[in-house]
């Protein structure tokens, strides 16, 4: 469990980070908490000749709630999300999801930026950010650019971020209505067999709008427009739930692994989404 040797950098500002990335191209990678990257390096599944530790780079550790949006720096940890009372009151789905990620030790180190930027389909934050219609800001030599979470994921570990860019923060419009993050996992520390993020708005007993995203059921997170469309205008009754689940199943593409065969994953995805919608609706 000893990774290949690497050069280690702990720069104090983003300009230095970008110049190291520029110099070494895809031989260099940035690391926040390291709880995705270090295990991969120990297994020698990731080879990182130049490792850039972001821990001393300022300006990426704050949670700012202002106006109608929330800005979360890339180095904010899952523990920070859980402990922030103001955040829990304006966007409780973030805390509900963070509490279901890994275990306490991992949550002290694991960051929002690492979770969303890594592109691992098993990570929970990407689907959640798609549900919340978050925007990711990356910075590179040419300056900053914004990428919607719903356009960010291309395939497993492949994202719209270029190798020489760094994700600095995510911006989330203040969520409205009821919420739920529902996750089925085999044991603490495992990735989801299936997980669903739901944010739903009720108006005079009917669903006015809803946003649904699924985790670990394809090689990217899946934002299911069709599942949401099946609920809008209904009273979220049994028929609407069935239609939403059927629509979601048309959008996901799970593959067989040690969490079960495809038929089982489709089954669990349906159960989890149904629970998530019902819980979100009860809170709407």
């Amino acid at each position: 469990m000893i990774p290949a040797a690497f050069e280690y950098y702990r720069p104090k500002d983003m300009a230095s980070v970008l110049s190291i990335l520029e110099e070494h191209g895809d031989d260099a990678r940035v690391m926040a908490g390291g709880h995705s990257l270090i295990p991969m390096m120990k297994l020698r599944m990731a080879d990182v000749p130049h490792l850039i530790d972001l821990q001393d780079v300022g300006g990426m550790s704050a949670i700012d709630i202002a106006g109608d949006s929330i800005r979360i720096g890339a180095l904010v940890t899952q523990a920070d999300i859980i402990d922030n009372a103001e955040l829990a009151s304006v966007a409780p789905i973030l805390k509900e999801a963070a509490l279901q990620i890994a275990d306490p030790q991992v949550r002290y180190m694991g960051t929002v930026g690492g979770n969303v930027a890594n592109g691992d389909p098993g990570n929970d934050m990407p689907g959640l950010m798609q549900c919340l219609n978050a925007v990711f800001t990356v910075v590179g030599a040419e300056g900053e650019r914004d990428i919607p979470a719903r356009d960010f994921y291309e395939a497993a570990y492949m994202t719209a971020r270029e190798d020489e860019e760094v994700l600095t923060h995510v911006t989330i419009p203040l969520p409205k209505g009821g919420y739920a993050y529902e996750k089925q996992k085999r044991k603490i520390g495992d990735y989801a067999t299936a997980a669903a993020a739901v944010q739903i708005v009720k108006n005079s007993g009917a669903c006015a709008s809803v946003s649904i995203a699924m985790t670990n059921l394809s090689d990217t997170p899946i934002y299911s427009d069709a599942a949401g469309a099946a609920l809008v205008g209904t009273s979220v009754d049994a028929a609407a739930l069935d239609a939403a689940v059927a629509a979601m199943l048309g959008d996901i593409d799970p593959s067989e692994d040690n969490r079960g065969p495809v038929a089982f994953k489709n089954h669990v995805a349906g159960v989890i989404l149904r629970h998530a919608i019902e819980r979100a609706w009860s809170r709407a």
Partner: protein, 164 residues
């Protein structure tokens, strides 16, 4: 290729200085370089928690941190929590309530539990189980670990009240 660097880490209140490759995992630095063998290597894959230490106020699995990341930090291991002559209330409670059998997971358990009780001095059984979920024990079935932590919490709270 060897690229040894100079590192300074405070461990259990003592400043340690040494040369090491940045890729060295902190658990090896502690155990093999500094002879601090309380933190154990169970799985070495971030799952079992036997290597748990406290770094700048966070419970961290020392198998999932490079020594380079820990440079300049303050690390506490089970050795810094209490010893044979001055057992920490948690250590005493684990002894009294059979919170251990083989003992292999115990240093990580107690190190994690100190932080848990610091953050939540009156945890329910459910909160203890949730807060200790990153530490695996293959002997006890956890029941006596929960009991030990509850007993230590009671004792620590009583001591705090008596002091006030």
């Amino acid at each position: 290729m060897s690229n040894k660097q100079h590192y300074k880490i405070t461990v259990n209140g003592k400043q340690e200085e040494f040369l090491a490759e940045p890729r060295e995992l902190l658990i090896y630095t502690l155990r093999e370089r500094l002879n601090i063998t309380g933190p154990h290597i169970g799985c070495e894959t971030s799952h079992c928690g036997a290597c748990t230490v406290t770094i700048d106020g966070k419970s961290v699995k020392a198998c999932t941190m490079f020594v380079a990341q820990a440079d300049g930090k303050d690390v506490t291991t089970i050795e810094g929590i209490g010893g044979p002559d001055d057992l920490h209330p948690l250590q005493n409670a684990f002894k009294e309530h059979h919170g251990l059998q083989c003992g292999y997971c115990t240093p990580g358990m107690i190190t994690r539990a100190t932080k848990l009780l610091e953050e939540n001095p009156n945890p329910t059984e459910e909160e203890i189980r949730f807060g200790m979920a990153g530490n695996i024990c293959r002997c006890t079935g956890y029941q006596n670990i929960v009991k030990s932590i509850q007993a230590a919490a009671t004792e620590m709270n009583a001591a705090k009240e008596a002091a006030e």
